[in-house]
């Protein structure tokens, strides 16, 4: 008969979230989000090719408050996926596997993402 009183391996819920785990999950989530964003990008090109009326329709949606919030999240997702993607390329080349280096490159990924997101919106605002 099976002994149901045996100790269980701790479930995921009790672990403290390490930075590497959080960024890894975000990398996948932003990847899916960017796939949806890519569909919207094609939709914009199609409306430009179609006629000014359909372009104005999609422009109205994107320049609304909700649209701008969506675009902001889009740039954030794009730069996070991009910066962490570059981090992955370094790992692929065989660099940066030490525990402290992995943590540092994770922090750098977050800082670079924030900097690029602010830069692109600053650029949009001032130019």
């Amino acid at each position: 008969m099976a002994n149901n009183q045996r100790p269980l391996s701790p479930h995921l819920g009790i672990y403290k979230w390490p930075l590497a785990m959080a960024i890894s999950i975000l990398h996948r989530m932003t990847g899916v989000a960017l796939a949806i964003g890519a569909v919207l990008m094609v939709a914009v090109f199609v409306t430009v090719a179609a006629d000014p009326e359909s372009y104005e329709w999609i422009r109205g949606i994107l320049s609304s408050k909700t649209g701008k919030a969506f675009l902001f999240l889009w740039t954030f997702a794009l730069f996070l996926h991009l910066c962490n993607g570059v981090r992955h390329l370094f790992w692929d080349a065989g660099y940066g596997f030490e525990k402290q280096t992995t943590f540092n490159s994770g922090v750098f990924t977050i800082i670079a993402t924030a900097a690029l997101t602010i830069a692109v919106w600053g650029y949009a605002y001032f130019f």
Partner: protein
């Protein structure tokens, strides 16, 4: 004609030597997308909330058109490879096969639609 079974002929021939192609193409498209995506984000930020005529004129520039066609191609190739890995992780059995077929068709169709739209503007 050999009397050996197809299985015995295949045994010992090693792999099909294509094991790393998915991994490699994911990295290849990733490297291409690093400059293209940064350029795209800043270019869109620059053109911003422009009128139809302005956007149309911008897209009619051959350098912009070429860069955007490359961006669309690399984006949807990379998207297909990435979403395939996610589907393989979470979807199983026949549903996986069906999802992967739909995913492939969607990515190819969207890339072609985007490129044709850009060519219509450019040409």
């Amino acid at each position: 004609m050999s009397l050996r079974t197809p299985l015995s002929e295949a045994k010992g021939l090693g792999s099909a030597k294509e094991g790393a192609s998915h991994w490699w193409l994911q990295r290849l498209t990733a490297i291409a997308l690093v400059p293209l995506a940064i350029w795209f984000a800043f270019a869109v930020a620059c053109i911003g909330n422009a009128s139809h005529a302005e956007v149309h004129a911008w897209l009619a520039n051959p350098f912009i058109a070429v860069a955007l066609i490359l961006f669309i191609a690399a984006t949807f190739y990379h998207t297909q490879l990435g979403l395939q890995v996610i589907v393989e992780d979470y979807v199983h059995g026949w549903l996986k096969v069906v999802t992967l077929i739909i995913l492939n068709f969607l990515c190819i169709a969207l890339a072609v639609v985007g490129i044709v739209a850009l060519l219509k503007i450019f040409l």
